[in-house]
Amino acid sequence: MKILIIEDEPQMLDNMRITLEREHYQVETAVDYKTASAKLGVYDYNCILLDINLPDGNGLNLLEQIKTQGKAHGVIIVSAKNSLDDRLKGLNLGADDYLPKPFHNAELNARVKAVLRRLNFEGHNLITIGNVSITPENREVKIHKKVIELNRKEYDILMYLITNKNRLVTKSALAEHVWGDHIDQSDSFDFIYSQIKNLRKKIEEASINVEAVYGVGYKLNIN
């Protein structure tokens, strides 16, 4: 799985690269429009992370170039602007997702995986982990081929943790992903804990478990 990160801020680029390399993707980088354009002309990528504010050009033009080449790239726009205009323009030009800065590493990972999955680069629709199998299209979760009833939020939590398996997912990253900006207040931690407790009960039979890390976040482990 080849990924190209186009980002002019070197430290930002580093973080993204390390995060994605840990998921065993082959990551290449470009720090400006020119380099990015040259790389896109020569190589194929499965997913492109595109910062649209580049010092020597507008990332949206790169997006047009990508789309005219007609290759099945997934494109995620990464922007510090979070402007509706850019978001709409980007999505209209064929971007698959729009990720506003700042974001959590876990979120970046989840978005990339979601795009790759949607474009079928993983080769199959079924996600299997231990004795758990998930069909994302119909949000079906099976343990030992037995269907488990999860509500919407429980499913989202489980998917997010599975996407970031073996990695520490902080509570705020989890809260933001599952509940959006709704849960950003004082008692959110207590609240998340009770949600995780419910989920744990439902996946007792599974060969995966949700480990609490010092009250900081959670980690999904495969037994």
Partner: protein
């Protein structure tokens, strides 16, 4: 009190003593002149009588004032010598008036042949009480006339003069710096007003400039903060994953992360405020507030369950309004989130939709919140230090963008309202 009435008040107060003093002085001056001319007349009469006595000495026998306007009384030579002319006022019966009226009596001496006489001549006098009452009437009318003319003059002339002033003031009243409205002043030929207009125009320009500058500063600062925040958060997250840390170390890092996340939310809220004020949310559609309320309430289901609360929605009519959908969601979400977070656990939250008002009511701390600055930035009502203090400020900004009114009232429970001036059916 208006300036023109204010001056009128003082002018009328000042006029009263002025006219009174003037009236008294005038009265005495006039009286003096009348006496002078009466006395002259009496003296002249005496000369005429003296001449007549020479022709007809019989008149010297007139001793009754009631029959003639003069009398002669013989006196001794000694008395004649010591006698001094005198005038005095007294009352005498007047047949025409059927009353005693004031008269002026002139007493003098007369020598005829070898006889000495005291002569008295009477003339009717001015009636002082009548004069005073007449004068009083005329003065009152003068006073009233003066006041009426001053008032009329003020209202017609001054009003015309002050027109540019009131025009400028009305412009200022409607001026809203956040709406970037312009002030148009009417040129005036009066220096003071022209000065005022020029000063207002300059002041407004300065304020608008610095307001726009501030706005851009906040927006730019918020934008510029995003990248370093992103780098810090991601680096810390990677660090947490990479290094085997003990519990205390992990917790310290997590607390730093939490604070960075808080900063991020704060920054996002500030950016959102800037965007609302910069009119970046242009697209509008008809929003059905009932179904939107239901949808948002569903999103909070887990949190409600966790706090053992529930939300009931009562509606006796639909509310539809043209708005940007994202902003409508933010508006309702902020109110609903506040009600859940600040509401007491185990209580019910009630949302009501009436034909032009949406309200949410929750039971919380039994004390009214400060209405004055509830909707201003960074006025935190709770002790929870994680709230940004911008939620209600954002709601206020959204409301003023769409000409809605947001308000708050406390009556055992906290209620927030959105009033719609224009709804669609």
């Amino acid at each position: 009190m208006k300036l023109l009435n204010y001056t009128t008040k003082y002018v009328s107060l000042l006029l009263l003593p002025l006219i009174t003093i003037w009236a008294i002085a005038f009265y005495y001056a006039m009286l003096d002149e009348i006496y002078d001319s009466l006395d002259d007349g009496l003296e002249n009469h005496k000369i005429l009588l003296t001449k007549r006595a020479n022709e007809d000495p019989s008149i010297l026998n007139n001793t009754d004032l009631n029959k003639h306007v003069y009398t002669f009384n013989p006196i001794s030579e000694n008395e004649y010598r010591d006698f001094k002319d005198s005038y005095r006022d007294t009352l005498m019966y007047m047949y025409n008036e059927d009353d005693f009226e004031p008269v002026r009596i002139f007493e003098s001496k007369l020598k005829h042949d070898h006889g000495f006489y005291k002569v008295k001549i009477v003339t009717s006098m001015i009636e002082e009480d009548d004069l005073i009452s007449d004068m009083f009437k005329y003065l009152i009318s003068l006073y009233a006339l003066l006041l009426i003319s001053i008032l009329l003059l003020n209202n017609i002339l001054l009003r015309k003069i002050w027109k540019p002033f009131y025009y400028s003031i009305s412009q200022l009243k409607n001026f809203k710096i956040e709406k970037e409205s312009k002030i148009i002043t009417k040129p005036s030929s009066i220096d003071e007003f022209q000065l005022l207009n020029d000063t207002i125009t300059k002041l407004i320009k300065k304020s608008s400039d610095s307001y726009i500058e501030q706005k851009h500063f906040i927006e730019n600062a918020s934008h510029e903060l995003q990248t370093p925040l992103a780098i810090s958060i991601n680096k810390l997250e990677l660090f947490l994953e990479n290094h085997p840390l003990n519990e205390n170390q992990t917790k310290s890092l997590a607390s730093i992360l939490d604070n960075l996340n808080r900063l991020t939310r704060l920054n996002k809220s500030l950016l959102l405020l800037s965007k609302i004020e910069n009119k970046e949310f242009l697209e509008e559609e008809c929003i059905d507030f009932l179904s939107l309320t239901k949808k948002i309430t569903e999103d909070f289901e887990d949190l409600l369950l966790h706090r053992n609360m529930s939300i009931s929605i009562d509606h006796n009519s639909m509310i539809n309004a043209n708005m940007n959908k994202d902003l409508a969601i933010i508006l309702l979400t902020n109110f609903i989130k506040n009600a859940i977070i600040h509401g007491s656990p185990n209580q019910q939250i009630n949302i009501q939709l009436h034909h032009n008002s949406w309200s949410i009511c929750n039971i919380g701390k039994p004390k009214a919140l400060n209405k004055e600055d509830l909707f201003t930035r960074f006025k935190k009502v709770s002790y929870s230090n994680k709230s940004s203090g911008l939620g209600l400020a954002i709601n206020k900004a959204i409301a003023s963008k769409y000409n809605l009114e947001v308000s708050y009232s406390f009556k055992d429970a906290h209620t927030f309202y959105i009033h719609f001036h224009q709804t669609l059916i």
